[in-house]
Amino acid sequence: MDAESFYARIASALGGPSPALHLPAARKAAPVAATVTERRAWAHLASERLRSVGGSAECVPRSQLAARVQELVGGSPVVRVADALLPSEVLSVLDQATVCTAVDAHTWREACAAATWGVTDADAWIAETGSVLLCAQRDRPRATSLLPRHHLVIVPLERVIPSLEGALNAMVDTPSQWLLVTGPSRTSDIENDLTIGVHGPAVLHVLVVDEETD
């Protein structure tokens, strides 16, 4: 059925066509301004909420970031987002373990399927739910956070926001995928018994990088 006939069916069910809807194009709201103390409090709440659904998170001072990533990832195979999205000291640690950075579509997918860890940044980390916001972009392919069994997120403290509303700004640019991830993949389909890691990653770990702590 063509679009106009479809609309006409609806209009006749409604008793006549509706006046055209002037929905202004989506516009960004002013980003949330906050002090470091506030952001730390949100990060604390976000970790709590993330932990309650089986994820984990920790605050790391910039000086210890590389060492902590090294500890977590060890020598296991890693896929990661492009250089521009991660702190440089993390890159040097990861490059010893990296199977593949985003190159061509076919080998990329195979690399993600073979990797143990997927390392990404995030557009935001949301206190209300503990969710990580990941918008698809050239430097941040989708499979990085989907196919490996472990997902490590490295996010600077200034991207911690209080509520879901704050994540809507990123929708204005209509990324091909706007994705919230809240904890590891889960299912209760078998006899109501909760299991972690059915299709998506079984581990979600967030490292919040706090520049000012030492």
Partner: protein, 484 residues
């Protein structure tokens, strides 16, 4: 229930369900768990009622001008490369998907959970066109392997014991497994992972579209929805035409209410909002994203002011979990794709002449628990009453019961007939509720009563009518308040 005029179909199915101990306990356990989860989420969220008000209004606003809202959605979605199709009915929707599959030379379609796909029987249509349709939600996959239908819209396989699931998997893979959930889920993960990577087509539903940015959104916990919308070259999302909100702000209310109402989660593990296929420089994501907007009876429902509100439904399943009938008999007894109170309302509207669906209005106690649980405040119990009235007007239901109700209506209008008739009914009621061969014989041969008695133990009426006891009760009450 037969007192309400159900034909034997629902009763037989309900009876069958009640005879299965595992099913009965599993359904009860599931509905209890989900209901408790919801209650706890409501307590934790201080603004729950405000969110409900906001989302109820948003859903109704979008539906009241659905044609205009869909136009905006289609225009904006097309602008970032989404290809939108329209289907007037189930057959057309299936034909569109089959044609796309054929054009792509697809052999395997990996599917995310979609109730709409169940509704239009897409799997059968794909199989007929030699395209393998593979369910990838764990519960749906089990259902597919068993050749059954989902029994709950959120947890499709609650009726199946783990031992049966193990056997299904063992037959499927020629392997030996244990009954542990981890092992069973692990098997599914390994098996389906290969299929995700091999599939040419990913098919999902659409929890909600957002007109403002031209997006379709998928809520999921397992991650299979992400797989099928990321890995195959072509992604097709099936969307009921009413599943749309106008703005991102409306969508925030949905993100807060849908998971809480469904499972008591603050949010589902994944909320996946898609604005078209992968962009040129992106490394992964589908090359094409098609959205099929489906009517299939919804415009009929839209035209009917009595039932239009039911289109606001966000398919959370809270009304199923709240319903005393659903939590006793489970989803299969309804015999329809959508069970529970919402199913009893929308199924007859999708197919108006279907006697089988009309009877479902009686599968309810009219307690209103569904209305109370509904995040968008659909007055389901009012709709059920109105469906029952329509059924009675169309002469559906037990004829002798209708006759009895008519007599009763006359009698109640005249006080002395009512009092006299009541005395006779009480005497007769006491007689047939008694033990012995004679009462049983009379009971089995009295119209109306014979069907009532088949489903329940009849209560023994008291000797004195409530009206006669009233004066005494008032006197007692007075004495009580004097004493205070």
């Amino acid at each position: 229930m037969s007192a309400h005029g159900l034909t034997d179909d629902f009763l037989q199915r309900a009876q069958h369900a009640l005879g299965q101990d595992f099913l009965r306990q599993a359904v009860r356990k599931t509905t209890d768990r989900l209901r408790d989860g919801r209650a706890q989420a409501v307590r934790e969220a201080g603004d729950f009622e405000a969110w409900r008000d906001a989302l109820s209004a948003a859903r109704r606003r979008a539906i009241a001008r659905l044609d205009a809202v869909l136009r905006v959605f289609v225009e904006r979605a097309s602008a970032h490369g989404v290809q939108v199709h329209f289907a007037a009915d189930a057959a057309e929707a299936c034909a569109i998907v089959v044609e796309l599959a054929r054009a792509k030379g697809a052999r395997l379609a990996a599917k995310g959970k979609s109730m709409l796909s169940e509704e239009i029987e897409l799997n059968q249509a794909l199989e007929a066109a030699c395209v393998e349709a593979l369910e990838t939600d764990l519960g749906e996959w089990i259902i597919q392997l068993a050749g059954e239908r989902p029994s709950h819209i959120i947890l499709p396989v609650v009726h199946k014991p783990r031992a049966e699931i193990r056997e299904l998997f063992e037959q499927h893979g020629g392997v030996t497994l244990s009954d542990e959930t981890k092992v069973l889920a692990g098997y599914a993960r390994d098996r389906l992972r290969a299929e995700f990577l091999r599939a040419d087509l990913g098919i999902t539903g659409c929890n909600m579209a957002i007109a403002e940015t031209g997006a379709v959104a998928l809520f999921s916990n397992e991650g299979n929805g992400r797989m099928v919308s990321t890995l195959p070259k072509t992604h097709i999302a099936l969307m009921g035409m009413e599943r749309i909100v106008e703005t991102r702000a409306d969508f925030v209310d949905l993100m807060r209410l849908l998971p809480r109402s469904a499972t008591g989660q603050r949010i589902t593990t994944y909320v996946n909002v898609l604005h078209g296929p992968k962009r040129t420089h992106e490394l992964d994501g589908p090359e094409e994203l098609h959205v099929v907007v489906v009517d299939a009876g919804r415009s009929q429902q839209l035209a009917d002011r009595d039932y239009r509100d039911a289109l606001a439904c966000i398919r959370c399943g809270a009304c199923l979990n709240a319903c005393p009938v659903y939590s006793t008999v489970g989803g299969h007894a309804y015999g329809t794709v959508y069970p529970g109170p919402i199913g009893a309302v929308i199924e007859p509207l999708y197919a108006r002449d279907d006697e089988r669906r009309a009877e479902l209005a009686n599968a309810s106690t009219l307690c209103g628990a569904c209305h109370e649980a509904c995040p968008v405040r659909i007055p389901l119990h009012d709709m059920l009453v109105s469906l029952r009235q329509a059924n009675a007007r169309q002469g559906r239901g037990d004829r002798s019961e209708l006759a009895l109700q008519r007599v009763a209506a006359r009698a109640m209008a005249v006080p002395f007939v009512y009092a006299g008739g009541g005395a006779v009914a009480r005497w007769f009621g006491r007689f047939v509720a008694g033990d012995g061969a004679w009462p049983r014989f009379v009971l089995q041969h009295t119209p109306v009563l014979q069907t009532m008695a088949r489903q329940r133990v009849l209560p023994q009426p008291p000797l004195r009518a409530f009206r006669d006891q009233w004066a005494d009760l008032v006197r007692e009450d007075m004495r009580g308040s004097d004493g205070r």
